[in-house]
Structure formats: structure tokens, C-alpha cells
Amino acid sequence: MTDNNENSDVTPEEEGRVPKRVIGTPPSVGTQELLPREEPGEGGSGYVLDEKKARSAERVAAFFFTLTFLASIAFIFFYAVWPGHVGNIQRATRSNYTLGIALTLIFLGLAVGMTIWVRHLVTTKEIVQERHAISSTAEDREAFNEFFQKGAQESGLIQRKLLRRTLLLASAPLGLLPLVLLRDLGPLPEKKLRHTKWKSGTRLVVDGTGQPLKATDFNSPGGIITVVPEGAENNLDEIATSAVLLLNLPVDQLKIKKGRENWNVGGIVAYSKICTHVGCPAALYEQTTHHILCPCHQSTFDALDSAKVIFGPAARPLPQLPIGVDSEGYLIATSDFKEPVGPSFWERGRPKA
């Protein structure tokens, strides 16, 4: 190894190998050297290969390149024979498979072949690049500091206090401007989060079929069905807040909260299907335990006890919808939910917000 850490005494032979320095580029100090400096030996400066192993590596690489070639032909063939845009979805699937596999083989063959080539057949020596400290040299830092101090002096920023302070004053509100603009995000949801499509007299209809339910129809103990307000069967925006889980519970086990005596119809109760945690559809009902489970975070509600939270991250019970029957015997809501459904929001606790 020749000592090339000193840039000053460059030997004539090195002169030719180091390109001329372009203005603005860092000086080619030894630590940034990329080319291995070594006296060439008798057979050249690189590695010497074992000819037998080299030949087998060559064959392997050639195999992968041939694979790429064949896969390319296959890609064109499959594209021409089974175009994905003609025919049915099965055909598109098959087209995706064949084209995807062919394309995979094309690029994989190239990459593997080249890697084997580089690892086994290229005789260039590995280059070790030394890492150096990221900070500038001491002289550079000194020079910058001097320059900065001089600029501060000459501009008068240090002596002229009034100028400096008014400049700071002028720029302070500038930082607040984006915050003021944030206020334009909106509008706020107003009362939309507090009300659903349910109102007194709205019939409960089965989600999916739109068929109204009689209390006498929904008479099997342990029954459950998802219902939506009549008239909103196809309105997903409304269903998103109004979906209700209708349960047929054993009336003798029901723990009815004070003020909710008229909210069930002989053990048929209705709870909001939207979890009070983050709004997933909480509808995994076990008829043996009467637990309602939310699939997202395992919040568990006791259907017998006003959907009280018995496990999980939900903070509030599922809101209960007061229900009754109309003159024809169909199940109806007797009012909207008495509290906002779904997860918390900032203004939830404010009564008149």
C-alpha cells in the first residue's frame, strides 16, 4: 500500500489515476478514496479465479439468463393467448397469474444471474470505503464563525436594539397564521351526531330486506336481527348511525333501569349496533350468556343490564332505543335515542352544543 493520506506529495503515477479536481468538489483526501491502491502483482491487480469453479458459476448464471429469455417469450405468449381483458373474471385471474409469474421469472432470472456473475466471476477487488466524521474541518468552522460575527457587526443588528426587537415582533404573528387558518377546517357537525333517523312511530325493518317486524313474529327466545328505520333501508349514511340490534331476551332476567320501563316489548329490546368505543358494529351476541361483543377491541356489553360495559375499552353502554308496537302490531320506535350513538366526540358532554 502506498501512503496516500497526504494530498500534497502526489507521485507522478498517481497523478494519472486521480481525476483533476473540479471547483466546488471536496478535495480527494485519502479517507474518501474509492479505488484500491495496491501494487499490481504478476497476474494483474484483481482476484484470481479457480477456473473450474468459475466455469460452473458461469453456467449457473447463464442458466438464469436463459430462464429470463424463456420467461420473456412466455410472457408475450400468455399475453397473446389469454388476454385478461377478454371474457370473465376467471380469465382475468388466470391472465394475472401467468403474466405475473412470467414477469417475476424475468426479473428474478436477471437479478440472480447478475448476482452470481458479480460474486463468482468478477475479479475486481472489494473496495473498503472508510467513513469519516460528518463535521466540517476546524478551519472551516472557524472561518464560518468569523464570517458570521463580522456580518452581525456590520449589519448593525447587535447595536441597534429597536431594529432588532421590532423585527422579532414583526415575525412573531407570522408563525400563528397557519393556526388561524386551521379554524376553517369544518364545518362542525352541528347536531348531526346527536340525532338519528329514528323518531316516534318509525317502524323497525329488517336490514337487507326492508320487511317490517311484528312483535309476534320476533317471538323466539334468543332471537336477534339487525333492523334499520323504515324509509332509510337504502341510505347508507343513515344506516351508519341508525343501525339497531334487536334482541329477544328472557323478560324475567331483564334488569330494567329506572325510567326505561316502557322501552322493551315483552323482553324485546333494541340497542344501537354502533360500539361506543370507536364505532365498529358491535353485534356478536351469545344467546347463552346474553353478552354483546364488539369484534374490533373485544368490548363486551351485558344485554340483560341495559348493555352495560362488562369488559373492554368502551366507556359507555350501547344506547338503548325505546320501542313499542303500533296499532297493527308492528314494532316501532317510540322516540329517537336519548343520547348520541357511537363513539365520543368533543362536544358530546355539552348539552346545547
Binding site: Y47, H120, D217, F218, S220, I225, N248
Partner: protein
């Protein structure tokens, strides 16, 4: 044993061992995990003879838990009024007679054959009440409206059984079973009787026609191909993400290690 020593020192031996272990575990699990045959049954009417034979079978296999007159004990519920559909579901899916009483009785190979199942059902039905075994037409998936069934399934079934019927976990060791082995008749019977923790969907809430639609949806979904290759249990983005990250990133790590490893089998000129 020399060859083992030589072999295990090779650079890829570690990867090979891990792959082989995974393959062995996978094959062993597939071999050990239980498989069930589908029970086929006809819907012949119950006769007095069936009832008598059913009672004999009941006394032999069921009465120890359900009581001598099917009135139930502290270990098992009363079967009075559960109906033939419930018996057919429980026995034809192999759930009853139960092996042991855990959080949930699993599906297994049925113990009774088709005829014995019919006789048991006839006996329990003769005790009064309950839904009967549905007819072939009632459960024929070919005549069901799969689109409507899909709507009903997603609103009322998918929360527990998953959107593709792959099943899912409940509380306390209970689970909603996957629907891949359930026959159309068993699906119908499950809806109408509500076995174990499953709620009931009676005929006046979800009509027989709508039940047939749900059956059509479940069976057609089962037959759908997996456009992305393996369905990964059809449990959705969690399994897909896991495989994507583990396999995808794993392969990239292996590739990176290979690319940057020291070049093998080259000697220095002056060595």
C-alpha cells in the same frame, strides 16, 4: 456421521433446517387435525317404528346427560320441545353425543348414521314441539337469491362467522365455527334452532325463502376462487398482512444478506 458434520457447516444449512422444521410441523398438523365427513340425510317421515328405535338409541347414548325422559340434568339442557331440526343438526354434525363438556362442543365425525339420526330426531319430536327437519327444496341453494342472502348474511351472520364464513372467536373459549363443512340443511337448522351460543333466526323474522338465500350465499362464497392465490383462511387483512410482512420482508432480508455477503471462493493474488 462425517457427512452430517460437513453438511451442517455449509452456509445455507441453517435456512434448510428452519424450512424443513416448518414443513414437518405443517404436515404433521394437517395430518393430526380432525376431519369430518359430511352427513347426508333423507327427509323421510317419522314412523312409530322410528320413534321406538330412536328411544332405544337415546337411552343408550344420550340419557346419561339429558335425563331418562329428555327432561335435562344439571349437565345438559332439556330436550323437550327442541324439535327434530335441533337433533338432526347436533347429531349429524357430530356435536352430539358430546365427548366432554368444555366451553363449546366441537364439530366432529358423526357417531350415528343417517338412519339412526332420523330415528333419534323422530323420538325427540314425538315429545312435542319444535321445528322439524327442513325439506330438500327448502334448503336447495340453487334456487336461493345469493345477492339478498349476502345482504342478510353481512348484516346478521358475518359479525361472528366472518364475511366469508370462516368463523371467529367469541368470549370465554367459545367460538363461531367456520361454515366450510356445514351442509345446506345444517345451515338451515342452525339458523332456526340456534345451537349453543348462536342466536335464533325464526321463520317469521327471516323467512324460509330468505334462509335459502343465505344458504345460497354461503355455499357460493365457499365455491368462489381466491383471486390472490391462497385464501389464507379467508380471515382478511390480518393474515394477509402477516404473510406479506413475514414472507415478503423475510425474502428481502435473505436477498440482502446474499448480495452483501463476502464474495466466496476467490483467493487473493498474493496469498
Amino acid at each position: 456421521m462425517k457427512w452430517i458434520t460437513a453438511w451442517r457447516r455449509r452456509p445455507w444449512a441453517g435456512y434448510a433446517v428452519v424450512l424443513a422444521a416448518l414443513a414437518i410441523i405443517g404436515v404433521a398438523y394437517a395430518g393430526v387435525s380432525p376431519r369430518t365427513d359430511q352427513a347426508q340425510a333423507s327427509d323421510a317421515a317419522a314412523s312409530q317404528q322410528d320413534v321406538a328405535k330412536g328411544k332405544a338409541l337415546f337411552n343408550q347414548a344420550c340419557s346419561s346427560c339429558h335425563g331418562a325422559n329428555a327432561e335435562g340434568t344439571k349437565n345438559a339442557p332439556s330436550l323437550l320441545g327442541v324439535g327434530a331440526a335441533s337433533v338432526d343438526f347436533q347429531v349429524s354434525t357430530g356435536r352430539m353425543p358430546a365427548m366432554n363438556l368444555g366451553a363449546q362442543v366441537p364439530r366432529k365425525k358423526p357417531i350415528f348414521n343417517e338412519e339412526q339420526t332420523r330415528q333419534l330426531a323422530a323420538y325427540i319430536a314425538s315429545l312435542g314441539g319444535g321445528p322439524g327437519v327442513p325439506s330438500k327444496d327448502q334448503v336447495n341453494p340453487d334456487t336461493g337469491d345469493a345477492a339478498m342472502g349476502g345482504k342478510l348474511f353481512r348484516a346478521n351472520c358475518a359479525q361472528c362467522h366472518n364475511f366469508a364464513g370462516s368463523g371467529g372467536a367469541l368470549t370465554g373459549g367459545k367460538y363461531a365455527p367456520p361454515l366450510d363443512k356445514a351442509t345446506p340443511r345444517q345451515i338451515y337448522e342452525a339458523m332456526i334452532t340456534g345451537p349453543q351460543a348462536m342466536p335464533v333466526f325464526n321463520d317469521t323474522t327471516v323467512t324460509p325463502e330468505q334462509k335459502r338465500a343465505i344458504i345460497a350465499y354461503v355455499t357460493q362464497t365457499r365455491a368462489e376462487p381466491n383471486p390472490g392465490g391462497s385464501g389464507l383462511g379467508r380471515v382478511g387483512p390480518v393474515a394477509e398482512g402477516l404473510v406479506g410482512w413475514l414472507v415478503g420482508i423475510g425474502l428481502m432480508v435473505v436477498a440482502a444478506v446474499w448480495l452483501t455477503a463476502k464474495k466466496p471462493k476467490k483467493k487473493q493474488q498474493n496469498d
